[in-house]
Point group: none
Amino acid sequence: MAGTSLSTADTARAQTPQKVASFVETKTTQCSFSIESILGLEQKKDGIPVAKPHRPWMDTCNNLGINLCLPIPVISYEIPLFHLNPYSVPEESVLECEKYLSATERLSYKRELSWYRGRRPRTAFTRNQIEVLENVFRVNAYPGIDVREELAQKLDLDEDRIQIWFQNRRAKLKRSHRESQFLMVKNTFPANMID
Amino acid sequence: MAGTSLSTADTARAQTPQKVASFVETKTTQCSFSIESILGLEQKKDGIPVAKPHRPWMDTCNNLGINLCLPIPVISYEIPLFHLNPYSVPEESVLECEKYLSATERLSYKRELSWYRGRRPRTAFTRNQIEVLENVFRVNAYPGIDVREELAQKLDLDEDRIQIWFQNRRAKLKRSHRESQFLMVKNTFPANMID
DNA sequence: TTCTAATCTAATTCA
DNA sequence: TGAATTAGATTAGT
């Protein structure tokens, strides 16, 4: 059944199982490592190609009996099956079905599913919320708990969301600064030095 | 240059001067502004309607003198003009020039244009590179920095490209899983229930 | 058109 | 607190 999910491109690539060796041979010049060493590094898990998914939040949630009240019976019936192995299972496979839901149902369903997955549903800030947050950010990129609380109340958001938003906003600012600095340096030199 | 980190989208959002009241009054240490004053500062710029082409990457690039050494003289002449207002520039008009370029010139020009726009030129992985990446992916979908670095060296790619490739590959896997699950659900129930 | 590289952001982990 | 990283959603190039 899983095979049907693979695109033709994937299927085509899957037809060439053991050709890594040939590649390595052609690249003998700088071969101080072997693919085998990499492959050997991670032992597979029942054929599941995931060694270290780094998803700690799954640990605390994969034993909960959630989704008892999903809006659609069909789906509430399926989800417990997904529970068995979160890694090999498409957690959002059901999202495909959303097409057949009303807007309200879809939202509520998405929320349930996200919670089931152990991940906070992605917050969709409104235009106005972003606007206020940006304006505050221009003046103070490190608002204290009091400001955050006040913003939370005014914008009808959890204080946690405010906190996270500012963290990411600062990260974004830093990143852009870094990049512009980098480009600036780059541009002080002729193109043939960088290209 | 902090201002340049804000996209035009941010500017565009600044059009709902709402009352967020004076929450700052409760806090006196960090910031002595009121939200109103902050919002008041951002009453749109001049009369510019600010259309939004959604090019966030421009944030870090629209103030830099790039393309000082374009490979094609004709175009290197043109691009600095675009610089003045990247958002109001009709890219199609630039593409017009392509008709007068050879294939090689066109390619190199496109690359420069991408670079100018602040987007990295799309990397074209070779067959061998894809093959190795796929083989590693089957065993470990979440390679650490060490494996990525090693792959980068072996495949003559930036580590960043490796990282991005695995991200996109995981997304693709998820997508295909999602689809197969959807088909499974669909096949489990009569068509009239979901279609 | 399809596939996918590149980008952006919300969320999370860890030092 | 911030850097690194993940998922997920888009954008856009081939």
